[in-house]
Amino acid sequence: MTGSTKDPDLRQEPALGALVADALAEDGQLIPTTESEVARAEAAGVAFEGALPEGLREFGAASRASADVEGRASSAQAPSGESSPDDEVASRRVVPLEQTRAAHRGRLWLSHLAAGVVGAAAATTLWLWRTEPGVPSTGTAAQEPVDGAGDATRPEPKISLARVADCPKDCCAGRQCASPRETLEVCSSGRACVACSFETLAASRYRIRVGPLAATPAGDRARERAGGSLDMCIRVGSSDFACVPSHRNRDRHEQWADLGLVATAEDLLAGFELELVSPGDRTVLGKWRQPVRINSKLLCKGLALKPVSEAGEALGRVSVFLVDTYYVELMRSDRVPALLEHEKRFEFSGLSPAIFETTGRGTARFALGLGPMSQAAAESLRWQVLSKGGEARVVIGADYVGEPRHVNQPNPAVERKAIDE
């Protein structure tokens, strides 16, 4: 190694390194990141002129259907020579990469199915229609196609589904845990059982549930200066901030708010950040930021965030819980009655199916599902359905909106049994 700083060559390495970076950018080997680099690239005619590859056409093609459905046209005009008319039409709505890949996987799956099973053409068409491009995807990597509406003329045996007992032997917290750690017998998060293993806990994703700000006198003063209210803006890892009012009127709001953030253990470790923000001018009045390592205590007791002002004054305390966010989705439809009909194909034990409204359009607008639950429980339940000839997928409910409508009045006998367990 020639790592000695006494080496004059290496003392100048940063300057030479910068020159190399500039040279590589100049040579087109690095992506232009300044206006002048862009200007040079444009002058060199770097813009791709051929037919865009399938992946990029697909990126926009997914939007074509939705744009047509919406009947909306862009009022803005693209500069001439920058995009083809196809691009303009095709790119009205951009969809996430994961969604595009999922759709692509779905189409590949379809191709194989269609090639191999001639008689299944009708079913294939139905599924193609059901998985229309452009519909927001909320599935996990494990997601699979959800069955169509089912053939109403064909009597089918009912599929029995039972609640999954998901308290492992190596648990550490919760009232269902046989040997919880000291102080973790009862969880303020409401969890009945929390595993010990980091690997188990880190395998799931979690939604962020946040309580109101318990303000210190300094926090109250900050709130008064901000006109009587503050926003709490939270992000994990590299997510965008999601904001809720720091003080919620008991008459008008739930005291706890579930943010539209779904975090992994890695996100939490990258940093959990809270900002107290003035709603008017968006001035940040206080902050809290720390990497958070997921463990059984965190899931049981939650997290106490204590934002401080720039001057170091403590502004208050905010409780945060990580809640389960996995659902087993049995079907999607544009009509609630179709989901209610589909629900009759199942017998539920200790489970309460619900209909969720989503931000999806068309056949994706409503979902029949079960949850939320842990990832392990959701996967186990999904396999119950699959092994009995049904179709289901695990999702994280990222596009669910509002309160779900529970389909069944719970069977008291079943509920009692579940409680006794």
């Binding site: 690095l30 206006e35 680099e37 690239a41 990222a398």
Partner: protein, 235 residues
């Protein structure tokens, strides 16, 4: 992070820019994307328009990148372009229009900003030892120095010529090092995962990767010095 419906509140607003002669500027379109919560339809249309304006440029510049680098990052050029637009729309609030510039200049600024996102995605992907969603480099995305002129250094052309004289392995190591130099590692300390990946790619050790880089820089310096007494001292 999963794509959750965490629409930003209208915070950290971009300056309000008026439409010019019926054509919205990139800054105005991005401002509409930021305000998705207030008008999702307008935000979606703005996304589509931005995509249409810049997809061919971005795909073109990404195609010029080392395919070896993209492969190491586990991405195709198409993947990187798609992901860049997706992240750009998620982070539209980080775009700083800078001033009341012409549409042409705003377009270049947008492309430079998209380039920064793409470069950081590449850096994050290379630094990732396994599939995790954390994107520390992307998180530090800013428009700082985006209008900095390219140094008109006489050394630049010499360095380009010198780079072509290096072995493929040396070029690869310097290219990866330069990537991190640009996305926020001015002292050229490669993340361990990247160094290990480079080492694996060239069937050597991380220590030897550092030695390769050092030798390559010495060769470049020698090339510069041979051209004239003042050219060997990069400032």
């Amino acid at each position: 992070m999963n794509a959750a419906p965490a629409l930003p509140l209208p915070m950290r607003d971009s300056p309000s820019l008026m439409p010019r002669q019926g054509r919205l500027s990139d800054a105005e379109l991005l401002a509409r994307v930021v305000r998705a919560e207030l008008d999702p339809g307008a935000a979606h249309r703005a996304q589509g328009e931005l995509y249409a304006r810049h997809v061919r440029y971005l795909y073109g510049v990404v195609l010029r990148q080392s395919q070896q680098l993209l492969r190491a990052a586990g991405m195709s050029a198409e993947d990187l372009v798609q992901e860049t637009f997706q992240r750009a729309f998620e982070r539209a609030h980080t775009f700083d229009p800078g001033g009341d510039f012409s549409d042409e200049r705003l377009g270049r600024r947008t492309r430079a900003w998209l380039g920064r996102i793409a470069e950081r995605l590449l850096a994050d992907a290379l630094a990732r030892s396994r599939e995790v969603p954390a994107t520390p480099y992307l998180e530090r995305l800013t428009c700082e120095s985006i209008d900095e002129p390219v140094p008109a250094s006489p050394q630049l052309a010499l360095v380009i010529a010198g780079l072509r004289q290096l072995s493929e392995r040396e070029q690869d190591v310097l290219r990866v090092t330069a990537l991190y130099h640009r996305v926020g590692e001015p002292h050229q300390r490669l993340p361990n995962a990247v160094s290990e990946q480079l080492a694996a790619r060239w069937d050597t050790t991380s220590e030897n990767v550092r030695a390769i880089r050092s030798r390559a820089l010495k060769k470049l310096r020698a090339i510069l010095t041979a051209q004239g007494p003042n050219l060997g001292e990069a400032t």
